[in-house]
Symmetry: C2
Subunit: 215 residues, 2 copies
DNA sequence: CCTAGATTGTGAAGGATTTCACAAGCCCCA
DNA sequence: TGGGGCTTGTGAAATCCTTCACAATCTAGG
Protein backbone atom coordinates (compact mmCIF):
# COMPACT_ATOMS: atom_id res chain seq x y z
CA UNK A 1 0.00 0.00 0.00
CA UNK A 2 1.66 3.12 -1.25
CA UNK A 3 2.22 6.03 1.04
CA UNK A 4 1.30 9.52 0.04
CA UNK A 5 4.78 10.50 -1.01
CA UNK A 6 5.59 12.48 -4.07
CA UNK A 7 8.48 12.61 -6.49
CA UNK A 8 9.86 16.12 -6.77
CA UNK A 9 9.79 18.99 -4.30
CA UNK A 10 6.29 18.38 -2.89
CA UNK A 11 6.90 16.75 0.48
CA UNK A 12 4.50 14.26 1.91
CA UNK A 13 0.82 15.04 1.63
CA UNK A 14 -1.40 13.78 4.43
CA UNK A 15 -4.34 11.66 3.40
CA UNK A 16 -6.90 13.92 5.10
CA UNK A 17 -5.61 16.73 2.93
CA UNK A 18 -6.29 14.75 -0.23
CA UNK A 19 -9.78 13.84 1.05
CA UNK A 20 -10.53 17.49 1.60
CA UNK A 21 -9.21 18.51 -1.80
CA UNK A 22 -11.70 16.10 -3.30
CA UNK A 23 -14.47 17.78 -1.30
CA UNK A 24 -13.34 21.27 -2.21
CA UNK A 25 -13.43 20.27 -5.84
CA UNK A 26 -17.06 19.20 -5.59
CA UNK A 27 -18.01 22.51 -3.92
CA UNK A 28 -16.05 24.53 -6.43
CA UNK A 29 -17.94 22.87 -9.25
CA UNK A 30 -21.20 23.81 -7.55
CA UNK A 31 -20.04 27.38 -7.08
CA UNK A 32 -18.89 27.53 -10.69
CA UNK A 33 -22.27 26.31 -11.91
CA UNK A 34 -23.90 28.94 -9.70
CA UNK A 35 -21.88 31.57 -11.55
CA UNK A 36 -19.57 32.63 -8.72
CA UNK A 37 -16.35 34.09 -10.12
CA UNK A 38 -14.40 34.03 -6.85
CA UNK A 39 -14.61 32.20 -3.56
CA UNK A 40 -12.92 32.70 -0.19
CA UNK A 41 -11.35 30.08 2.04
CA UNK A 42 -14.07 30.89 4.56
CA UNK A 43 -16.86 29.98 2.15
CA UNK A 44 -15.17 26.74 1.16
CA UNK A 45 -14.63 25.96 4.83
CA UNK A 46 -18.27 26.61 5.62
CA UNK A 47 -19.68 24.12 3.14
CA UNK A 48 -16.95 21.60 3.92
CA UNK A 49 -17.38 21.58 7.70
CA UNK A 50 -13.85 22.77 8.32
CA UNK A 51 -12.00 26.01 9.00
CA UNK A 52 -10.67 28.63 6.65
CA UNK A 53 -7.15 28.09 8.00
CA UNK A 54 -7.43 24.42 7.11
CA UNK A 55 -8.47 25.22 3.57
CA UNK A 56 -5.60 27.64 3.09
CA UNK A 57 -3.09 25.24 4.64
CA UNK A 58 -4.29 22.41 2.42
CA UNK A 59 -3.86 24.51 -0.70
CA UNK A 60 -0.55 25.95 0.46
CA UNK A 61 1.12 22.55 0.11
CA UNK A 62 0.74 22.88 -3.63
CA UNK A 63 1.20 26.58 -4.30
CA UNK A 64 -0.36 30.01 -3.89
CA UNK A 65 -3.56 30.10 -5.80
CA UNK A 66 -5.43 32.97 -4.16
CA UNK A 67 -5.42 36.75 -4.23
CA UNK A 68 -5.21 38.48 -0.84
CA UNK A 69 -8.26 40.54 -0.13
CA UNK A 70 -10.24 38.75 -2.83
CA UNK A 71 -10.12 35.00 -2.47
CA UNK A 72 -9.68 32.39 -5.16
CA UNK A 73 -10.75 32.50 -8.79
CA UNK A 74 -13.33 29.75 -8.94
CA UNK A 75 -12.41 28.42 -12.35
CA UNK A 76 -8.67 28.62 -11.83
CA UNK A 77 -8.80 26.89 -8.45
CA UNK A 78 -11.02 24.17 -9.86
CA UNK A 79 -8.49 23.55 -12.59
CA UNK A 80 -5.61 23.53 -10.12
CA UNK A 81 -7.25 20.99 -7.83
CA UNK A 82 -8.18 18.81 -10.78
CA UNK A 83 -4.55 18.88 -11.84
CA UNK A 84 -3.30 18.14 -8.32
CA UNK A 85 -5.64 15.17 -7.99
CA UNK A 86 -4.67 13.86 -11.42
CA UNK A 87 -8.16 14.52 -12.80
CA UNK A 88 -6.95 16.50 -15.81
CA UNK A 89 -6.98 13.25 -17.76
CA UNK A 90 -9.04 10.07 -17.88
CA UNK A 91 -8.12 6.82 -16.15
CA UNK A 92 -8.80 3.34 -17.46
CA UNK A 93 -10.65 1.22 -14.93
CA UNK A 94 -11.50 -2.47 -14.84
CA UNK A 95 -14.14 -3.99 -12.60
CA UNK A 96 -13.57 -7.53 -11.37
CA UNK A 97 -16.71 -9.32 -10.21
CA UNK A 98 -19.96 -8.60 -12.03
CA UNK A 99 -22.27 -9.52 -9.16
CA UNK A 100 -24.63 -7.23 -7.31
CA UNK A 101 -22.09 -4.55 -6.41
CA UNK A 102 -19.96 -4.93 -9.51
CA UNK A 103 -22.83 -4.48 -11.91
CA UNK A 104 -24.24 -1.54 -9.93
CA UNK A 105 -20.85 0.12 -10.30
CA UNK A 106 -20.54 -0.77 -13.97
CA UNK A 107 -23.85 0.93 -14.70
CA UNK A 108 -23.06 3.96 -12.55
CA UNK A 109 -23.04 7.06 -14.73
CA UNK A 110 -21.05 9.23 -12.29
CA UNK A 111 -18.06 7.02 -12.88
CA UNK A 112 -17.37 7.98 -16.48
CA UNK A 113 -18.60 11.50 -15.91
CA UNK A 114 -15.67 12.08 -13.56
CA UNK A 115 -13.03 10.69 -15.87
CA UNK A 116 -12.96 7.06 -14.84
CA UNK A 117 -13.51 5.00 -17.98
CA UNK A 118 -14.67 1.46 -17.38
CA UNK A 119 -12.82 -0.42 -20.11
CA UNK A 120 -13.19 -3.98 -18.85
CA UNK A 121 -15.40 -6.12 -16.62
CA UNK A 122 -14.52 -9.64 -15.47
CA UNK A 123 -16.32 -12.54 -13.86
CA UNK A 124 -15.72 -16.24 -13.36
CA UNK A 125 -19.36 -17.28 -13.79
CA UNK A 126 -20.02 -18.63 -17.33
CA UNK A 127 -23.61 -17.37 -17.06
CA UNK A 128 -22.34 -13.82 -16.83
CA UNK A 129 -19.40 -13.91 -19.24
CA UNK A 130 -20.34 -12.48 -22.63
CA UNK A 131 -23.18 -10.27 -21.42
CA UNK A 132 -22.92 -6.50 -21.77
CA UNK A 133 -23.06 -4.00 -18.95
CA UNK A 134 -23.43 -0.40 -20.06
CA UNK A 135 -21.60 -1.01 -23.32
CA UNK A 136 -18.81 -3.20 -21.98
CA UNK A 137 -18.95 -6.95 -22.31
CA UNK A 138 -18.07 -9.18 -19.38
CA UNK A 139 -14.86 -11.14 -19.97
CA UNK A 140 -13.76 -14.38 -18.40
CA UNK A 141 -11.45 -13.69 -15.50
CA UNK A 142 -9.06 -16.28 -16.98
CA UNK A 143 -7.97 -13.59 -19.42
CA UNK A 144 -7.50 -10.96 -16.72
CA UNK A 145 -3.75 -10.38 -17.04
CA UNK A 146 -3.68 -10.37 -20.84
CA UNK A 147 -6.61 -7.99 -21.19
CA UNK A 148 -5.48 -5.67 -18.41
CA UNK A 149 -2.09 -5.39 -20.05
CA UNK A 150 -3.51 -4.88 -23.52
CA UNK A 151 -5.96 -2.19 -22.38
CA UNK A 152 -3.32 -0.64 -20.13
CA UNK A 153 -5.82 -0.40 -17.31
CA UNK A 154 -4.46 1.55 -14.35
CA UNK A 155 -7.16 1.20 -11.70
CA UNK A 156 -9.13 -1.89 -10.68
CA UNK A 157 -12.33 -2.14 -8.68
CA UNK A 158 -12.62 -5.39 -6.75
CA UNK A 159 -16.18 -6.65 -6.23
CA UNK A 160 -15.55 -10.36 -5.79
CA UNK A 161 -16.26 -12.60 -2.79
CA UNK A 162 -13.77 -11.90 0.02
CA UNK A 163 -12.10 -15.30 -0.18
CA UNK A 164 -10.85 -14.69 -3.73
CA UNK A 165 -10.05 -10.97 -3.34
CA UNK A 166 -6.42 -11.50 -2.32
CA UNK A 167 -5.74 -13.77 -5.28
CA UNK A 168 -7.22 -11.31 -7.77
CA UNK A 169 -5.35 -8.41 -6.14
CA UNK A 170 -2.06 -10.26 -6.61
CA UNK A 171 -2.85 -11.04 -10.24
CA UNK A 172 -3.82 -7.41 -10.89
CA UNK A 173 -0.59 -6.15 -9.30
CA UNK A 174 1.45 -8.43 -11.52
CA UNK A 175 -0.49 -7.27 -14.58
CA UNK A 176 0.57 -3.66 -13.94
CA UNK A 177 -2.38 -2.22 -12.02
CA UNK A 178 -1.16 0.24 -9.40
CA UNK A 179 -4.43 1.26 -7.75
CA UNK A 180 -7.19 -0.94 -6.35
CA UNK A 181 -10.54 -0.03 -4.85
CA UNK A 182 -11.64 -3.00 -2.78
CA UNK A 183 -15.19 -3.69 -1.64
CA UNK A 184 -14.39 -6.82 0.31
CA UNK A 185 -13.76 -6.83 4.02
CA UNK A 186 -10.28 -8.24 4.53
CA UNK A 187 -7.22 -6.03 4.09
CA UNK A 188 -5.20 -6.93 1.00
CA UNK A 189 -1.48 -7.56 0.86
CA UNK A 190 0.00 -5.95 -2.24
CA UNK A 191 3.43 -4.74 -3.42
CA UNK A 192 4.59 -1.38 -2.09
CA UNK A 193 3.93 0.40 -5.38
CA UNK A 194 0.23 -0.49 -5.38
CA UNK A 195 -2.27 1.73 -3.56
CA UNK A 196 -5.32 0.06 -2.08
CA UNK A 197 -8.42 1.83 -0.79
CA UNK A 198 -11.21 -0.07 0.87
CA UNK A 199 -14.90 0.59 0.82
CA UNK A 200 -15.66 -1.45 3.89
CA UNK A 201 -19.38 -1.44 4.50
CA UNK A 202 -19.15 -3.63 7.59
CA UNK A 203 -16.64 -1.30 9.20
CA UNK A 204 -18.75 1.79 8.57
CA UNK A 205 -21.82 0.09 9.99
CA UNK A 206 -19.82 -0.90 13.06
CA UNK A 207 -18.61 2.65 13.56
CA UNK A 208 -22.25 3.74 13.47
CA UNK A 209 -23.10 1.01 15.96
CA UNK A 210 -20.35 2.23 18.26
CA UNK A 211 -21.61 5.80 18.06
CA UNK A 212 -25.17 4.69 18.88
CA UNK A 213 -24.07 2.43 21.71
CA UNK A 214 -21.94 5.12 23.33
CA UNK A 215 -24.03 8.23 23.09
CA UNK B 1 -22.48 14.69 12.95
CA UNK B 2 -21.80 13.29 16.34
CA UNK B 3 -18.33 13.27 17.77
CA UNK B 4 -16.81 10.22 19.30
CA UNK B 5 -17.62 11.25 22.87
CA UNK B 6 -19.01 8.91 25.43
CA UNK B 7 -21.31 9.30 28.44
CA UNK B 8 -19.64 8.09 31.63
CA UNK B 9 -15.98 7.68 32.50
CA UNK B 10 -14.72 6.63 29.06
CA UNK B 11 -13.13 9.76 27.66
CA UNK B 12 -13.09 10.48 23.99
CA UNK B 13 -12.27 7.63 21.66
CA UNK B 14 -10.50 8.54 18.44
CA UNK B 15 -12.09 7.40 15.23
CA UNK B 16 -8.99 5.50 14.06
CA UNK B 17 -9.24 3.47 17.26
CA UNK B 18 -12.81 2.45 16.48
CA UNK B 19 -11.83 1.54 12.90
CA UNK B 20 -9.08 -0.70 14.22
CA UNK B 21 -11.36 -2.35 16.78
CA UNK B 22 -13.60 -3.32 13.90
CA UNK B 23 -10.59 -4.85 12.13
CA UNK B 24 -9.38 -6.66 15.24
CA UNK B 25 -12.82 -8.16 15.60
CA UNK B 26 -12.69 -9.61 12.11
CA UNK B 27 -9.26 -11.13 12.78
CA UNK B 28 -10.32 -12.48 16.14
CA UNK B 29 -13.24 -14.25 14.51
CA UNK B 30 -10.84 -15.84 12.04
CA UNK B 31 -8.51 -16.90 14.85
CA UNK B 32 -11.43 -18.28 16.81
CA UNK B 33 -12.58 -20.31 13.82
CA UNK B 34 -9.03 -21.57 13.44
CA UNK B 35 -9.24 -22.84 17.00
CA UNK B 36 -6.75 -20.49 18.62
CA UNK B 37 -7.46 -20.12 22.34
CA UNK B 38 -5.24 -17.11 22.96
CA UNK B 39 -3.71 -14.39 20.85
CA UNK B 40 -1.04 -11.79 21.52
CA UNK B 41 -1.08 -8.09 20.64
CA UNK B 42 1.82 -8.82 18.30
CA UNK B 43 -0.18 -11.34 16.29
CA UNK B 44 -3.16 -9.03 16.02
CA UNK B 45 -0.82 -6.23 14.99
CA UNK B 46 0.75 -8.39 12.33
CA UNK B 47 -2.45 -9.20 10.49
CA UNK B 48 -3.78 -5.66 10.96
CA UNK B 49 -0.74 -3.83 9.56
CA UNK B 50 -0.10 -2.00 12.82
CA UNK B 51 2.07 -2.35 15.93
CA UNK B 52 1.56 -4.32 19.10
CA UNK B 53 1.74 -1.12 21.15
CA UNK B 54 -1.09 0.30 19.08
CA UNK B 55 -3.24 -2.76 19.68
CA UNK B 56 -2.66 -2.64 23.43
CA UNK B 57 -3.26 1.10 23.58
CA UNK B 58 -6.50 0.76 21.64
CA UNK B 59 -7.78 -1.90 24.03
CA UNK B 60 -6.53 -0.04 27.10
CA UNK B 61 -9.09 2.72 26.55
CA UNK B 62 -11.78 0.23 27.47
CA UNK B 63 -10.18 -1.95 30.12
CA UNK B 64 -7.57 -4.64 30.75
CA UNK B 65 -8.51 -7.71 28.85
CA UNK B 66 -5.22 -9.58 28.58
CA UNK B 67 -3.02 -11.73 30.79
CA UNK B 68 0.62 -10.69 31.05
CA UNK B 69 2.89 -13.31 29.67
CA UNK B 70 0.06 -15.00 27.82
CA UNK B 71 -1.89 -12.63 25.66
CA UNK B 72 -5.65 -12.38 25.22
CA UNK B 73 -8.27 -15.10 25.44
CA UNK B 74 -9.61 -15.18 21.90
CA UNK B 75 -13.23 -15.76 22.81
CA UNK B 76 -13.30 -13.31 25.67
CA UNK B 77 -11.65 -10.54 23.68
CA UNK B 78 -14.02 -11.12 20.79
CA UNK B 79 -16.93 -10.73 23.16
CA UNK B 80 -15.45 -7.60 24.71
CA UNK B 81 -14.91 -5.89 21.37
CA UNK B 82 -18.39 -6.84 20.23
CA UNK B 83 -19.73 -5.25 23.39
CA UNK B 84 -17.61 -2.13 22.97
CA UNK B 85 -18.78 -1.68 19.38
CA UNK B 86 -22.40 -2.27 20.35
CA UNK B 87 -22.54 -5.51 18.41
CA UNK B 88 -23.88 -7.56 21.32
CA UNK B 89 -27.36 -6.83 20.01
CA UNK B 90 -29.07 -6.36 16.66
CA UNK B 91 -29.81 -3.00 15.07
CA UNK B 92 -32.83 -2.16 12.97
CA UNK B 93 -31.86 -0.68 9.63
CA UNK B 94 -33.91 0.94 6.88
CA UNK B 95 -32.68 1.43 3.34
CA UNK B 96 -33.93 4.47 1.46
CA UNK B 97 -33.66 4.22 -2.32
CA UNK B 98 -34.14 0.81 -3.94
CA UNK B 99 -32.12 1.52 -7.07
CA UNK B 100 -28.92 -0.16 -8.16
CA UNK B 101 -26.99 0.37 -4.94
CA UNK B 102 -29.97 0.16 -2.58
CA UNK B 103 -31.13 -3.19 -3.90
CA UNK B 104 -27.60 -4.62 -3.93
CA UNK B 105 -27.38 -3.70 -0.25
CA UNK B 106 -30.83 -5.04 0.55
CA UNK B 107 -29.86 -8.42 -0.88
CA UNK B 108 -26.47 -8.45 0.82
CA UNK B 109 -26.31 -11.41 3.17
CA UNK B 110 -23.40 -10.10 5.26
CA UNK B 111 -25.64 -7.33 6.53
CA UNK B 112 -27.97 -9.45 8.62
CA UNK B 113 -25.20 -11.86 9.48
CA UNK B 114 -23.46 -9.13 11.40
CA UNK B 115 -26.49 -8.00 13.35
CA UNK B 116 -27.91 -5.35 11.07
CA UNK B 117 -31.53 -6.26 10.38
CA UNK B 118 -33.03 -4.62 7.33
CA UNK B 119 -36.58 -3.95 8.50
CA UNK B 120 -37.69 -1.46 5.86
CA UNK B 121 -36.92 -0.36 2.30
CA UNK B 122 -38.28 2.80 0.69
CA UNK B 123 -38.52 4.25 -2.78
CA UNK B 124 -40.46 6.99 -4.53
CA UNK B 125 -40.90 5.13 -7.81
CA UNK B 126 -44.35 3.51 -8.08
CA UNK B 127 -42.85 0.77 -10.25
CA UNK B 128 -40.71 -0.34 -7.35
CA UNK B 129 -43.08 0.15 -4.42
CA UNK B 130 -44.72 -3.11 -3.38
CA UNK B 131 -42.01 -5.40 -4.71
CA UNK B 132 -40.06 -7.58 -2.30
CA UNK B 133 -36.30 -7.52 -1.81
CA UNK B 134 -34.94 -10.40 0.22
CA UNK B 135 -38.13 -10.76 2.24
CA UNK B 136 -38.82 -7.06 2.82
CA UNK B 137 -41.33 -5.21 0.69
CA UNK B 138 -40.53 -1.79 -0.69
CA UNK B 139 -42.65 0.95 0.88
CA UNK B 140 -43.58 4.32 -0.53
CA UNK B 141 -41.22 6.96 0.84
CA UNK B 142 -44.31 9.05 1.67
CA UNK B 143 -44.77 6.84 4.72
CA UNK B 144 -41.13 7.14 5.80
CA UNK B 145 -41.59 8.92 9.13
CA UNK B 146 -44.56 6.84 10.26
CA UNK B 147 -42.95 3.52 9.40
CA UNK B 148 -39.53 4.41 10.80
CA UNK B 149 -41.16 5.43 14.06
CA UNK B 150 -43.34 2.36 14.23
CA UNK B 151 -40.45 -0.02 13.49
CA UNK B 152 -38.16 1.96 15.79
CA UNK B 153 -35.42 1.86 13.18
CA UNK B 154 -32.15 3.21 14.46
CA UNK B 155 -29.88 3.24 11.42
CA UNK B 156 -30.66 4.36 7.88
CA UNK B 157 -28.76 3.67 4.68
CA UNK B 158 -29.20 6.40 2.08
CA UNK B 159 -29.00 5.25 -1.54
CA UNK B 160 -31.01 7.97 -3.26
CA UNK B 161 -29.92 10.48 -5.91
CA UNK B 162 -27.68 13.16 -4.37
CA UNK B 163 -30.16 15.98 -4.93
CA UNK B 164 -32.74 14.43 -2.60
CA UNK B 165 -30.31 13.02 -0.01
CA UNK B 166 -30.37 16.09 2.24
CA UNK B 167 -34.16 16.15 2.35
CA UNK B 168 -34.40 12.47 3.26
CA UNK B 169 -31.66 12.86 5.89
CA UNK B 170 -33.63 15.65 7.56
CA UNK B 171 -36.82 13.59 7.53
CA UNK B 172 -34.97 10.60 8.99
CA UNK B 173 -33.46 12.74 11.76
CA UNK B 174 -36.88 14.03 12.70
CA UNK B 175 -38.26 10.50 12.72
CA UNK B 176 -35.75 9.46 15.35
CA UNK B 177 -32.92 7.92 13.34
CA UNK B 178 -29.56 8.73 14.92
CA UNK B 179 -27.18 7.07 12.47
CA UNK B 180 -26.98 7.40 8.69
CA UNK B 181 -24.76 5.68 6.16
CA UNK B 182 -24.77 7.86 3.07
CA UNK B 183 -23.79 6.73 -0.42
CA UNK B 184 -24.29 10.07 -2.11
CA UNK B 185 -21.49 12.52 -2.67
CA UNK B 186 -22.45 15.72 -0.88
CA UNK B 187 -21.93 16.05 2.89
CA UNK B 188 -25.20 16.09 4.81
CA UNK B 189 -26.24 18.64 7.39
CA UNK B 190 -27.91 16.91 10.33
CA UNK B 191 -28.61 17.66 14.02
CA UNK B 192 -25.70 17.19 16.43
CA UNK B 193 -27.10 13.95 17.84
CA UNK B 194 -27.08 12.21 14.46
CA UNK B 195 -23.93 10.44 13.24
CA UNK B 196 -23.31 10.36 9.51
CA UNK B 197 -20.77 8.20 7.72
CA UNK B 198 -20.23 8.49 3.99
CA UNK B 199 -19.31 5.83 1.50
CA UNK B 200 -18.04 8.24 -1.08
CA UNK B 201 -16.99 6.32 -4.15
CA UNK B 202 -15.95 9.43 -6.07
CA UNK B 203 -13.67 10.53 -3.25
CA UNK B 204 -11.96 7.15 -3.02
CA UNK B 205 -11.41 7.06 -6.77
CA UNK B 206 -9.94 10.55 -6.62
CA UNK B 207 -7.56 9.54 -3.83
CA UNK B 208 -6.41 6.67 -6.05
CA UNK B 209 -6.00 9.11 -8.93
CA UNK B 210 -3.89 11.37 -6.74
CA UNK B 211 -1.69 8.46 -5.70
CA UNK B 212 -1.19 7.41 -9.32
CA UNK B 213 -0.53 10.94 -10.53
CA UNK B 214 2.05 11.61 -7.81
CA UNK B 215 4.10 8.46 -7.68
C1' DC C 1 8.38 -22.74 45.40
C1' DC C 2 11.45 -20.31 42.53
C1' DT C 3 13.35 -18.76 38.18
C1' DA C 4 13.27 -17.93 33.14
C1' DG C 5 10.72 -16.29 29.49
C1' DA C 6 6.95 -13.94 27.58
C1' DT C 7 3.56 -10.36 27.14
C1' DT C 8 0.58 -6.82 29.02
C1' DG C 9 -0.63 -2.02 30.43
C1' DT C 10 0.77 2.59 30.46
C1' DG C 11 3.30 7.01 31.38
C1' DA C 12 6.24 9.72 28.59
C1' DA C 13 8.32 10.96 24.20
C1' DG C 14 7.83 11.76 19.56
C1' DG C 15 5.47 12.84 15.32
C1' DA C 16 1.68 14.48 12.64
C1' DT C 17 -2.12 17.42 11.87
C1' DT C 18 -4.97 21.23 13.01
C1' DT C 19 -5.66 25.73 14.75
C1' DC C 20 -4.08 30.32 15.89
C1' DA C 21 -2.71 34.70 14.85
C1' DC C 22 -0.79 38.12 12.20
C1' DA C 23 2.09 40.37 8.59
C1' DA C 24 1.71 40.95 3.73
C1' DG C 25 -0.88 42.00 -0.26
C1' DC C 26 -4.75 43.25 -3.10
C1' DC C 27 -8.94 46.01 -4.40
C1' DC C 28 -11.85 49.85 -4.19
C1' DC C 29 -12.94 54.37 -3.52
C1' DA C 30 -12.33 59.01 -2.21
C1' DT D 1 -2.36 58.44 -4.49
C1' DG D 2 -3.29 56.86 0.02
C1' DG D 3 -6.20 54.55 3.49
C1' DG D 4 -9.70 51.12 4.90
C1' DG D 5 -11.36 46.70 4.62
C1' DC D 6 -10.80 42.22 3.54
C1' DT D 7 -8.41 37.79 2.68
C1' DT D 8 -4.35 35.12 1.83
C1' DG D 9 -0.14 32.51 3.20
C1' DT D 10 2.45 30.77 6.89
C1' DG D 11 5.41 30.30 11.11
C1' DA D 12 4.37 28.97 15.81
C1' DA D 13 1.39 26.91 19.26
C1' DA D 14 -1.81 23.59 20.44
C1' DT D 15 -3.91 19.35 20.00
C1' DC D 16 -4.29 14.72 18.66
C1' DC D 17 -2.41 10.22 17.66
C1' DT D 18 1.32 6.80 17.56
C1' DT D 19 5.41 4.77 19.19
C1' DC D 20 8.72 3.81 22.80
C1' DA D 21 10.24 1.64 26.69
C1' DC D 22 9.86 -0.64 30.83
C1' DA D 23 7.86 -2.18 35.33
C1' DA D 24 4.39 -5.41 36.49
C1' DT D 25 2.84 -9.89 36.31
C1' DC D 26 1.56 -14.10 34.32
C1' DT D 27 2.78 -19.27 32.93
C1' DA D 28 5.52 -23.15 32.64
C1' DG D 29 8.92 -26.10 34.04
C1' DG D 30 12.06 -28.01 37.16
N1 LIG E 1 -23.78 -6.51 -2.15
C1 LIG E 1 -23.48 -5.62 -1.23
O1 LIG E 1 -24.31 -4.83 -0.83
C2 LIG E 1 -22.11 -5.54 -0.66
C3 LIG E 1 -21.86 -4.56 0.27
C4 LIG E 1 -20.59 -4.46 0.82
C5 LIG E 1 -19.60 -5.29 0.43
N2 LIG E 1 -19.84 -6.24 -0.45
C6 LIG E 1 -18.73 -7.08 -0.86
O2 LIG E 1 -18.51 -6.92 -2.24
C7 LIG E 1 -18.12 -8.15 -2.79
C8 LIG E 1 -19.10 -8.52 -3.87
O3 LIG E 1 -20.39 -8.57 -3.32
P1 LIG E 1 -21.68 -8.88 -4.17
O4 LIG E 1 -22.83 -8.69 -3.30
O5 LIG E 1 -21.61 -8.14 -5.46
O6 LIG E 1 -21.49 -10.45 -4.42
P2 LIG E 1 -22.03 -11.30 -5.63
O7 LIG E 1 -21.96 -12.70 -5.22
O8 LIG E 1 -23.31 -10.75 -6.12
O9 LIG E 1 -20.96 -11.01 -6.76
C9 LIG E 1 -19.69 -11.57 -6.75
C10 LIG E 1 -19.32 -11.84 -8.19
O10 LIG E 1 -17.96 -12.23 -8.26
C11 LIG E 1 -17.87 -13.31 -9.18
N3 LIG E 1 -16.66 -14.06 -8.89
C12 LIG E 1 -16.47 -15.03 -7.98
N4 LIG E 1 -15.20 -15.47 -8.01
C13 LIG E 1 -14.58 -14.76 -8.97
C14 LIG E 1 -13.28 -14.75 -9.48
N5 LIG E 1 -12.33 -15.57 -9.01
N6 LIG E 1 -12.98 -13.87 -10.45
C15 LIG E 1 -13.91 -13.05 -10.94
N7 LIG E 1 -15.18 -13.00 -10.50
C16 LIG E 1 -15.51 -13.85 -9.52
C17 LIG E 1 -19.12 -14.11 -8.99
O11 LIG E 1 -19.39 -14.87 -10.13
C18 LIG E 1 -20.13 -12.97 -8.80
O12 LIG E 1 -20.67 -12.55 -10.01
C19 LIG E 1 -18.07 -9.13 -1.66
O13 LIG E 1 -16.76 -9.18 -1.17
C20 LIG E 1 -18.97 -8.53 -0.64
O14 LIG E 1 -18.61 -8.89 0.68
C21 LIG E 1 -21.08 -6.38 -1.04
N1 LIG F 1 -24.60 2.85 -8.56
C1 LIG F 1 -23.39 3.04 -8.09
O1 LIG F 1 -22.46 2.30 -8.41
C2 LIG F 1 -23.09 4.14 -7.14
C3 LIG F 1 -21.81 4.25 -6.67
C4 LIG F 1 -21.51 5.25 -5.76
C5 LIG F 1 -22.48 6.12 -5.36
N2 LIG F 1 -23.70 6.01 -5.83
C6 LIG F 1 -24.69 6.93 -5.31
O2 LIG F 1 -25.69 6.20 -4.67
C7 LIG F 1 -26.93 6.81 -4.88
C8 LIG F 1 -27.87 5.86 -5.55
O3 LIG F 1 -27.25 5.41 -6.75
P1 LIG F 1 -27.93 4.33 -7.67
O4 LIG F 1 -26.95 4.00 -8.72
O5 LIG F 1 -28.48 3.24 -6.84
O6 LIG F 1 -29.09 5.19 -8.34
P2 LIG F 1 -30.48 4.66 -8.90
O7 LIG F 1 -31.03 5.76 -9.74
O8 LIG F 1 -30.33 3.30 -9.44
O9 LIG F 1 -31.34 4.54 -7.58
C9 LIG F 1 -31.87 5.62 -6.90
C10 LIG F 1 -33.22 5.17 -6.36
O10 LIG F 1 -33.70 6.19 -5.49
C11 LIG F 1 -35.09 6.34 -5.77
N3 LIG F 1 -35.50 7.67 -5.33
C12 LIG F 1 -35.43 8.84 -5.99
N4 LIG F 1 -35.91 9.84 -5.22
C13 LIG F 1 -36.31 9.27 -4.07
C14 LIG F 1 -36.90 9.77 -2.89
N5 LIG F 1 -37.17 11.08 -2.75
N6 LIG F 1 -37.18 8.92 -1.90
C15 LIG F 1 -36.89 7.60 -2.03
N7 LIG F 1 -36.34 7.07 -3.12
C16 LIG F 1 -36.06 7.90 -4.12
C17 LIG F 1 -35.23 6.13 -7.24
O11 LIG F 1 -36.56 5.78 -7.55
C18 LIG F 1 -34.25 5.00 -7.46
O12 LIG F 1 -34.86 3.74 -7.31
C19 LIG F 1 -26.65 8.05 -5.71
O13 LIG F 1 -26.50 9.14 -4.84
C20 LIG F 1 -25.35 7.72 -6.37
O14 LIG F 1 -24.60 8.88 -6.65
C21 LIG F 1 -24.05 5.03 -6.71
Amino acid sequence: MKDFTSPISVKRIAEPTVRRLSLYLRFLEDFEKAGRATISSGELAHVGHTTSAQVRKDLSFFGSFGKRGLGYDTGALTAQIRRILGLDRTWKVVIVGAGKIGSALAQHRGFRERGFDVVGIFDVDPHRVGYMLDGVSISDVKGLEAIVRRLEAEIAVLAVPPEVAQGIATRLSKAGVHAILDFSTEPLKVPADVTVRSMNLAMEMEILSFALANR
